[in-house]
Amino acid sequence: MGDENRKILVVGGGISGITAAIEAAEAGAEVTLIERNPYLGGRVTQLNQYFPKLCPPTCGLEINFRRIKQNPKISVYTLAEIESLSGSPGNYQAVLKLNPRYVNDNCTCCGKCSEVCETQIPNPVNYGMDTMPAAYLPHAMAFPFKYVLDPGIVGTEEARKCLDACKYNAIDLDMQPASLNLNVGSVVWATGWDPYEVEKVDYLGFGKYPDVITSVMFERLSAYNGPTGGKIIRPSDGKPVQSIALVQCAGSRDENHLAYCSGICCLASLKHATYLREKNPDSKVYMFYIDIRAMGKYEDFYVKVQSDENVVLTKSKIARVSIDRESGQMLVEGEDIGRSEKVKQLVDLVVLAVGMKPGTASCKPSLDMDYDDFGFVTGSGSSGLIPAGCVKAPMEVAASLQDSTAAALKAISTAMGR
């Protein structure tokens, strides 16, 4: 079989999908990378810093975006979904649905459409912690670097105002959903993960108290491009946060919720401790855990964070989060296992370390793969689809990169019929 058969479809434009697509394309395959959001980067886009080096993810993403732009063998479709998928290894037929962006390639990101748009919508990149105009650039480093019109305003006066404001004929309100047929030799399934719906752990108070947020929200609250410009303040009253409780296993390792350990949350929370400590030297961090699971080389990071005397680590599975009427602070309660005493800690903000649910728990491909009880892919099954990244197991970015590079090789050999 020749090169023309080496066509690969990668589903999911997060860090795993991006990596699989680039690695396969740089080895010579022709790759179509599709993403449901209007931008690539997935959950990584929403991180403030990577552990353990504490460098910003935008740096690595930018390098990857450049590799994509420079490589004619990669076609990227955002706002794209799989409408149907059939076939077998070496020969798959995919029908894609391409949702309208209402903005074409003329867009220079001047932002005039956004300026005139008065309709505000929740900002999904910031987990709804703020709003943005319904004509928007998803985030400052978005790729493709193009605005988007929320379908909710199309057909209204708002959309017309945006159209009139655009000097470059970049807005096209007549865009319709389009269909695209693809014939490919292999399919990589990299649809990532979702944070656990921690409101189900009702005693932890998420959804009930504004000053109880999730770990993924705390990434945004700490990020310079987040809803507060990187100021760690309380959602309830905007006061600077002096103390936080990092509540581990918020639903994880729990048969009533997620029975498994997501493996990354301890490291993420230790990282969160550094976010607050760095921005506010007078701050205090209280982390409550069942066990600190900092495996392998990550032990060093754990030891480093632990050495800060203003980071207090307590073995305790938190049993109650409530509001202290007197101080307006959050009261975190449980048992301090080491001392067999009560934990009663007042803090400004509670951050719940939420586990990872595979994207395949809620949305599975129409072709059969093998799954475990939680929706993680355990094998390609009869379909031959190639899973990559967090659909297989909870993993951090470094492990996702390794896994997707392996997936790229598998995709090339499958597409070549070997």
Partner: protein
């Protein structure tokens, strides 16, 4: 920290006594943090740490045996519902108590209870022949082959003067709903729920087997109970001993009758009513809606909820044998419930468990709140509105 040597023969014996899931525990402490004892001050609150008790059990260590430690557990099930490993914490507590009960070292306050159960078949030191004294003037039919349901009245409502009103109200209400029921009477014994939780397995078996022989002999198929504790035992502990019955709490029967229009309620005594979910009706038997539906079927009844309701309900303090143990005023869970009920603005607190009534009413009186809040069994509210 002092080094302790595990005594694994002891922990094996605890497991053999029924603490089958003792080793599932990973010592996260969610149970201890969830335990209602954390909500009150006092000796039991300081001494009873359910996570630590299980740890000591795992290691076979001594020191958990006292009335205010191992015997503080009210078996309210709040921790079991949340346990991330599905540990049968109540089973473990029961197993640890059983090991003590076998050698006769249960707390002194519980010994007369066991004695009375042995000799009279009830924990209240009431003579067996007076089990049906509460029926005076009511003409309650005896159970026979023609009766659909056996009405099993909790020992508390057979002997305790206050609680007898519940038995009477249940009879009045069931009759008004046209339910075919009858009682067995003096031959009957305590269901054994609480004594098993106290750890006396042998006594439980004796009581249960005697009831099962009696009921099977009389052809009992369906049972209505007045207490959710009896409901738990009949449903969960009698089948393996050969007693398989369809068992209903009276609120289920009356709610059904009300839904079908078989009982007409006047609403003359209705008003704002707040409900306390008994642990054994709610968390143990998963019945939350029947009592609420029954309340709302009373015309004019306005149901309010306590801040902690349904599966988050807080125990009255009477389960697991605690109803017979002294808890000092100021350290009682029931006081929390009375305070919450008064905060709800309702004038009437209803519940549907004789232990809850005992505990709540006592605290209401001790707190001097009886003029602000009336504590009633739901059967009494129904009977008053007939």
């Amino acid at each position: 920290m002092e080094t302790k040597i595990p005594f694994l023969e002891v922990s094996d014996a605890i497991v053999m006594s029924g603490a089958e899931t003792l080793y599932w525990c990973m010592q996260c402490g969610l149970c201890t943090g969830t335990c209602p004892w954390r909500l009150v001050p006092g000796e039991a609150s300081e001494q009873f740490n359910v996570r630590l008790v299980q740890r000591m059990g795992q290691l076979g260590l001594e020191g958990f045996e006292s009335e205010n430690c191992l015997f503080a557990c009210t078996t309210c099930r709040a921790c079991v519902d949340r346990c991330p490993r599905g540990v049968d914490i109540i089973g473990n507590i029961r197993g640890m108590r059983a090991m003590l009960a076998e050698v006769g070292t249960i707390p002194p306050s519980l010994k007369p209870i066991a004695g009375s159960l042995h000799s009279q078949g009830n924990p209240w030191s009431g003579p067996r022949e007076k089990r049906t004294e509460w029926t005076e003037g009511l003409d309650v039919p005896a159970f026979s082959a023609d009766t659909e349901y056996l009405l099993f009245v909790c020992c508390t409502s057979c002997y305790d003067i206050r609680s007898r009103k519940i038995a009477k109200a249940v009879v009045t209400s069931l009759r008004a709903a046209g339910i075919s029921f009858g009682i067995v009477g003096a031959e009957e014994s305590c269901c054994g729920e609480s004594i098993r939780k106290i750890g006396d397995e042998a006594l439980f078996s004796k009581l249960a087997e005697s009831n099962i022989n009696l009921y099977n002999g009389k052809g009992v198929k369906k049972i209505i109970v007045t207490s959710p504790h009896c409901l738990y035992t009949f449903n969960n502990e009698y089948p393996e001993l050969g007693g398989e019955y369809e068992v209903y709490h009276y609120t289920e029967i009356l709610a059904q009758a009300a839904a079908e229009g078989k009982i007409s309620l006047s609403g003359k005594m209705a008003g704002e009513v707040v409900m306390h979910d008994p642990c054994y009706l709610g968390r143990h038997n998963d019945i939350y809606d029947a009592p609420r539906n029954l309340i709302t079927s009373i015309p004019g009844a306005d149901i309010k909820e306590l801040a902690r309701n349904r599966k988050n309900s807080v125990c009255c303090g009477g389960g697991g044998g605690r109803v017979w143990m002294e808890t000092k005023a100021g350290e009682r869970f029931a006081e929390l419930r009375i305070t919450e009920a008064i905060e709800s603005g309702a004038k009437t607190l209803v519940t549907s468990c004789p232990y809850c009534i005992t505990m709540l009413e006592d605290s209401c009186n001790v707190m001097g709140k009886q003029s602000e809040l009336k504590v009633m069994d739901l059967s009494e509210l129904v009977a008053e509105n007939l």
